[in-house]
């Protein structure tokens, strides 16, 4: 059918093919019959209708045969689905965090990433964690989908990829303004390659290489962490205030119900990221932005600040 790259594909596609084959047969047969009747029995060709009595045996036939057919379909659907519900004990464990409107993935050794990196031919068990509203974790090529429900802590799904490559990962549960931009990728690597990636701890510390352009890295962070889904870089008003012409200006905020003015500086940005609801930018709603405590390090924020400076008026 379409691109398939996990162990579930066969079961799902078998059910698909069975149901579609039956459907096409039924659709074509009945439609053919209707067209034939229109041609054969229209009132020019057949001016007088023949009245026909009901037949209980015919009614029973076309009740009972379809029951068996749908039972068959039910069975195939069940068989293709049951492995999805039975994750193995052993496997790579990853926590998928979803928030409006980005995914991030956290591995057992502390490594985090905004794409899902996994080894080929190994079970990967995903703990689904939604931080704000419903999202859904969907990888079409793997035939995997499960909603991510805030408050539901033991929700998990799993898969075993069978081919290396890069595949789409979508959020399929409507989650607000930027729902259609909430997507990521799954990168399936050879086991060896994955091991190297996984153990590359320099990525954990996120030490900026000597001489790297801090502002550029900051920009990349805004992109990869999904900040720009709410904060535009070009002055457009999205869910949150734009970054354009913001740095160094005076901002009207509400703190504990009191209006006051603060300067858009290091301190303000750091606090806004770690405790977004402490100062509420006037005209915006609290509770939209979640804290990035633990997800962005002080160094990350430093890079973001470097970038924000380049947007100063």
């Amino acid at each position: 059918m379409i691109l398939g790259a996990s162990t579930f594909v066969e079961g799902v596609d078998n059910a698909f093919i069975l149901i579609l084959a039956f459907s096409f047969f039924f659709l074509i047969a009945i439609t053919g019959l209707i067209i034939y009747f229109i041609w054969r029995y229209n009132n020019k060709r057949n001016p007088k209708a023949t009245q026909i009595k009901d037949s209980i045996s015919l009614e029973l036939t076309w009740t009972i045969i379809p029951i068996f057919l749908v039972l068959g379909m039910f069975y195939y659907g069940y068989v293709g689905w049951i492995p999805m519900k039975r994750p193995p004990e052993e496997g790579l464990k990853v926590t998928a965090n979803a928030r409006m409107w980005s995914f991030s993935f956290q591995y057992e050794n502390g490594r985090t990433s905004d794409k899902l990196y996994v080894p080929v031919d190994s079970a990967v068990i995903i703990r689904l964690n939604a931080l704000d509203v419903l999202h859904s974790f969907y990888i079409p090529a793997f035939r995997v989908k499960e909603d991510m429900v805030p408050g539901l802590t033991n929700n998990r799904t799993w898969f075993e990829a069978t081919k290396t490559g890069t595949y789409n990962l979508f959020c399929t549960e409507y989650c607000g303004l930027q729902h259609s931009y909430m997507l990521s990728e799954v990168v399936v690597m050879e086991k060896e390659e994955f091991k190297i990636w996984y153990e590359d701890t320099t990525a954990v510390a996120a030490v900026a290489p000597e001489g790297a352009n801090m502002a550029l890295l900051g920009r990349q962070l805004l992109q990869s962490k999904g900040c720009i889904a709410c904060h535009s870089l070009d002055g457009r008003d999205l869910v949150g205030p734009t970054y354009k012409d913001a740095w160094g200006t005076m901002v009207n905020v509400v703190t504990d119900g009191q209006s006051r003015q603060v300067t858009y500086d290091d301190e303000y940005v750091i606090r806004s990221i770690y405790e977004p609801d402490y100062d509420i930018h006037e005209g915006y709603r609290p509770g939209q932005m979640l804290s990035y405590e633990g997800e962005l390090s002080d160094q990350d924020i430093e890079m973001i600040i470097e970038f924000l400076k380049t947007l100063a008026p």
């Binding site: 009945i30 009747f37 009901d54 969907y138 989908k145 399929t172």
Partner: protein, 536 residues
């Protein structure tokens, strides 16, 4: 009615002059036929509005990136499109318009059991609509989708209370109509009309009315709880306050799945009226059709979980939901077999209502068969919440209810207005509409199988091809709708006059009264001796 004088009894209900004149004579009339037309006109306005929103959405999707609107507008549009189409058009739809107009005529009654309550239902309906529309002025259009899923519905910056409250009020209108119809059918059938001599459209209204009365309160409670949660923060659905968002989905679908049958059953009834008349042949399997309607109404209560296979809901309940979903397909299949058999050896009169009716069977089969894909656990996981679902329910709700509504309109039009529409334009409109419909929705199945999620303002380039075709289909379909509507509206005033009682040669009672019917429908009460579709 005490104030009617004898001369008025021979005047068409359209011309009849009671206590009030002009517009008041309509919006205060308790005549079931006028109430039916009030619903028809209201729906015409809102259907057109929501259809235009649909067209704008398809235009937005014709190319990736921003085309004609921003994401907030788009999200509000699909929400308002859904709310109008579901709560204002399709759920009340056929019962409110054709049920009101034709149920009393078809069972030989003078009116429904409670004419004043009937008028009240229309008023409640209008108040519900105005409440929904008031959201524009109090906090902006809702952007949650018509399903109002928690907890997004508590976090969205826009005010969704008017929409929730409006849907709640619309539910009341639906319950009142349901009660009215049930009592009418129990108490007011004319002499000789036993239950199994009642025509099939009233039968489906009967099954529908029970769903309206029994299921609608659940959505009422759910919407009210959501309002309470949003206003007072009671913490039932919102996980931030210890609530359970999956509970919301259960409650929502406990109503909204049976509601699908509220939408489709009367449509099936209409098709069961039209096919025998245009085949000059008794309906095949009258009892099988009646029983399958009741079976659908009953089993339909127990399948709501098929909307939630990937919701994170746990446990074995999922198998049962899948299994019952497959079973509920059977009664629909039985109907299709009986309809097609009705045409066998008939003498088919190929007129516009017949074309709408057979195309109904075709699109309904596609809707039903793709429902099997969604009912099966493994395949549901892949296509749930993608464009596949959007295509599927448009085939059922728009293909099913919409096509049967058009069929009904073209079938009963001469009786309702005493005029005939232009048949060439009617057929042209049908051809364009039908091909536009297929071009619009068939590619969505393909997009869904490729993995394109629903409620998507923007998409990856790989989904572009299907979307272009689909958007072009939308333009064609809207052109078809326009032709059909203009033809009907024009003909209702200027069409060729019909005075014949029975232009199509129908056998049911509505064809034995004057065209258009007089105020009290009958000069002498009709009696019935045989089955409704006994062609000789």
């Amino acid at each position: 009615m005490s104030e009617t004088n004898t001369t008025n009894q021979h005047v068409s209900f359209l011309k009849y002059q009671g206590k009030y004149k002009g517009l008041l004579g309509w919006i205060l009339s308790t005549d079931h036929k006028r109430v039916g037309l009030l619903y028809l006109y209201t729906m015409l306005v809102f259907f057109s509005t929501a259809a235009i929103l649909g067209l704008l959405m398809k235009l937005e999707l014709i190319a990736p990136g921003m085309t004609i609107m921003g994401p907030q507008t788009y999200n509000a549009m699909f929400t308002v499109h859904g709310i109008i189409m579901i709560f204002i058009i399709v759920v009340p739809g056929l019962p409110a318009v054709f049920g009101n107009f034709f149920l009393p005529l078809m069972i030989g009654a003078k009116d429904v059991a409670f004419p004043r309550l009937n008028l009240l239902s229309w008023w409640v309906y209008v108040i519900g609509i105005l409440t929904v529309l008031s959201s524009q002025f109090i906090g902006g259009w809702p952007d949650t989708g018509w399903t109002f899923y928690a907890p997004y519905s508590f976090r969205t910056p826009v005010n969704i209370l008017p929409a929730l409250f409006g849907a709640f009020i619309l539910g009341f209108s639906s319950i009142l109509t349901g009660i009215n119809f049930i009592v009418t059918m129990h108490r007011m059938r004319c002499p000789g009309m036993t239950w199994f001599k009642m025509p099939l459209f009233p039968w489906t209204l009967y099954a529908t009315a029970w769903i309206q009365v029994l299921a609608t309160p659940v959505i009422g409670i759910t919407l009210l709880l959501t309002v309470m949660e949003r206003v007072m923060g009671v913490g039932i659905f919102n996980p931030a306050m210890g609530g359970d968002p999956i509970l919301y989905q259960h409650l929502f679908w406990i109503y909204s799945h049976p509601a699908v049958y509220i939408m489709i059953l009367p449509g099936m009834g209409v098709i069961s009226e039209i096919l025998p008349v245009f085949s000059r042949k008794r309906i095949y399997g009258y009892k099988a059709i009646v029983l399958s309607s009741l079976a659908i109404a009953f089993v339909g209560y127990f399948v709501w979980g098929h909307h939630m296979f990937t919701s994170g809901m746990s446990g074995r309940a999922l198998y049962a939901f899948s299994f019952l979903t497959f079973l509920v397909a059977i009664p629909s299949a039985i109907k299709v077999f009986n309809w097609v058999s009705t045409m066998y050896k008939g003498s088919l009169n190929l007129q516009t209502p017949f074309y709408w009716a057979v195309s109904f069977i075709f699109v309904f089969m596609i809707g039903g068969l793709t429902g099997l894909v969604l009912g099966s656990l493994a395949t549901n996981v892949h296509v749930h919440d993608t464009h596949f679902v959007v295509a599927h329910f448009h085939f059922i709700v728009f293909g099913g209810t919409g096509f049967s509504f058009m069929a009904a309109l073209h079938y009963w039009f001469p009786k309702m207005f005493g005029r005939m529409y232009d048949r060439t334009w009617a057929n042209t409109g049908w051809v364009i509409f039908f091909s536009g419909f297929l071009t619009l929705y068939l590619p969505m199945f393909y997009l869904g199988i490729l993995g394109m999620p629903r409620r998507y303002y923007d998409y990856l380039p790989e989904f572009h091809g299907g979307n272009i075709i689909s958007s072009l289909g939308a333009i064609a379909m809207i052109a078809g709708i326009l032709i059909v509507f203009v033809n009907l509206i024009r003909s209702s005033r200027h069409g060729e006059k019909v005075t014949e009682k029975n232009p199509w040669g129908g056998r049911t009672l509505e064809w034995q009264t004057d065209t258009p019917p007089t105020l009290e429908n009958w000069e002498t009460e009709p009696t019935v001796t045989e089955q409704p579709y006994e062609y000789k």
